[in-house]
């Protein structure tokens, strides 16, 4: 308990941990969020996102997609339904828009690539407008009409709600996940100080047993990291208005899973290498790789290897959080969440076994 409290204080007061784990993410979410916001603002000339569409010729959706405002964002290929789906599958389109018998469906690629978020939100805005127009035309209720139309979309993709997607929504999630991964640094720093230094030597000559010491330190770094993540979480919600979905407990649980994983990872590698500096380097590069392949910064086309990267811990967390916010497949979310906790548990067990061997030899 004493170990826990002191470790907690140490982590929490550590200037590196405060700047890296709280200040930095808040800043970076702002910078990247703003950058992307300007990216999709109309006066910015940017590469439009590929979309395949099978729509009624001359219909309002076609007119909407062909309008000059929309064509700035979306590069729409009008084609047959089969071809539209093929383009989606081959990755040449981020989403496929299918209009049939007056109802509109948006198809995301399997696994719900993050690139589909912006095109979906644009189509969604069309549905909102459509709902409004229908309501005006029929003298009905706008909301009711909107729900009517969105019910059609939900056949394939759950509704996005009435909310307009913001780039902050995307970056806040990927950043917070990444930052919680980096919080493994807390664990490494604390273990370095409290077990692998003179201060550690001093702790090791006290009557406290090693498991108690390790356990206390672990709990301290996990709780600190989680709380630091929560500061960022609350900040993005309140100040940036980031949408984390309706199921906040699920999101918090997922973030906790990420924290556990990163602490286990950090402690595993410090015990593996017995060299805090080397562990730190491995930690940092490891996190960048995991973040990168899971599309934290950019979605890279890894082709067949994509399947492996889907199971990177960051990616698992993204699936659950985005899924929870924007209506993902429930089973898959639960599977991914469990997998995240299993990763953490396995690393913990390995770290524990290593620790038993390393610290008693």
């Amino acid at each position: 308990m004493a170990v826990f409290k002191t470790g907690f204080k140490y982590c929490w007061c550590s200037p590196i941990s405060v700047t890296i784990l709280v200040g930095f993410p808040i800043l970076i979410i702002f910078v990247l969020g703003s950058a992307l916001a300007s990216f999709i603002s109309p006066d910015y000339d940017f590469e439009s996102l590929p979309v395949s569409a099978s729509v009624e010729t001359g219909g309002s959706l076609e007119i909407f997609l062909q309008s000059s405002e929309i064509s700035q964002f979306l590069d729409v290929t009008f084609t047959t339904r089969e071809n539209a789906e093929e383009l989606l599958e081959s990755g040449e389109a981020f989403i496929a828009v299918i209009e049939e018998n007056g109802s509109v469906a948006v198809i995301r690629p399997p696994g719900g690539g993050m690139n589909s978020l912006i095109p979906i939100s644009i189509i969604d805005s069309y549905m909102q407008i459509g709902a409004a127009m229908t309501a005006v035309a029929t003298g009905g209720d706008i909301l009711e009409s909107a729900q009517l139309i969105q019910a059609e979309i939900s056949v394939i993709q759950a509704p996005l709600g009435n909310r307009v997607q913001s780039s902050f929504d995307y970056y806040a999630v990927t950043m917070l996940v990444m930052i919680l991964m980096f919080a493994g640094i807390n664990g490494i720093e604390l273990f370095k100080k409290s077990m692998f230094s003179e201060t550690g030597a001093r702790a090791l000559v006290t009557p406290v047993s090693k498991p108690a010491l390790v356990g206390g330190l672990l709990a301290a770094s996990t709780v600190t990291s989680y709380l630091q993540g929560m500061v960022t979480f609350v900040f993005t919600r309140v100040v940036y208005g980031v949408y984390w979905g309706e199921n906040i407990p699920l999101v918090l649980l997922t973030l906790f899973g990420v924290t556990l994983f990163s602490q286990a990872f950090g402690i595993f590698i410090i015990l593996l290498f017995k060299n805090p500096n080397l562990a730190m380097a491995v930690m940092q590069s490891g996190i960048w790789v995991m973040t990168f392949v899971s599309g934290g910064y950019s979605k890279v086309d890894f082709g067949a290897a994509d399947a492996i990267f889907r199971f990177s811990p960051n990616s698992l967390a993204h699936t659950v959080i985005f899924g929870s916010a924007f209506g993902g497949n429930h089973d898959r979310m639960m599977f991914d969440l469990s997998l995240l906790f299993i990763y953490g548990a396995v690393l913990f067990i390995l770290a524990f076994l290593l620790g038993k061997r390393r610290l008693t030899s």
Partner: protein, 315 residues
Amino acid sequence: MILTMTGTVKRYRALIALDHLTLNVHKGETLGLLGPNGAGKTTAIRVLTGLTGADAGKITLFGKELRGKANSADIRRRIGLVPQDLALYETLSARDNLEYFGKLYGVYGAELKKRADEALEILGLTDVAKKTPKKFSGGMKRRLNIGCAIIHKPELLILDEPTVGIDPQSRNHILGFVSEISRLGTTVIYTSHYMEEVERVCSRVCIMDTGRVIADGSVDEIAKAAIFEEAITLEIKEPTSALSESIKKIQGVSRCDIENRTVTIVSAADSGNLARIIEVAAPYVILGISAKRATLEDAFLALTGKTLRDGGEAS
């Protein structure tokens, strides 16, 4: 006997850090462990506190043999260790540091608070109890470093070079503290490469070099045993070579050199030659006399061929 180390060997690959080290510590004494850098002082401490395993030998602490690597919790509670390097949480207050290590030693609640107050008081840190060591001077950090090892009132306190690189005032404070705690009955192992410190606070000295004890005894005993010669310097108005010849005839004198007015004589220690030399030199005008008595410093030099300066590098 609180500690016995017999034939302790510790190797770091090809390097032999402890070479069949034998060391005994009696209850209540203050043992000075003196040796240049790399002599193996810190290694000896790491082995006996269970931080590193020895490759051979037998160690007994408080009557219990140290088996495997670590001491039992019961033994550990009776020992206080002040590591050679500062071992503090720089970002936590002085009091938090003291209380953390106090708790690790199983001291809690009001008792812990009382002992922290006492430690701050005795080490002169009461005014800065709430400050973090980051803002401390070197001497204050050293004192807090000691504080963290005494909060549980150990029976055996081990200080590994506790005064390295600090101001004279803090050093005095620390030496005074060691004398005081020793007077109150704590057994102390004090490692240092400062002669005058060991001479001042220790009742017994072990000189270590290359992983073994090369001299063991009271400060005086060691000085005497090690020093076979002493230097006598005479300042004479007009020395002649005849004087030099007469002095050289005195038994025990091995050398007599004249340089301008200075006559340097090397003579066997404790031979009583000083009086005879003065007798021989009486007809001359003696301006000054100095005789250098053997000190621990000389003993060290004679035993190891190394001088003990700050850093203790062999010269």
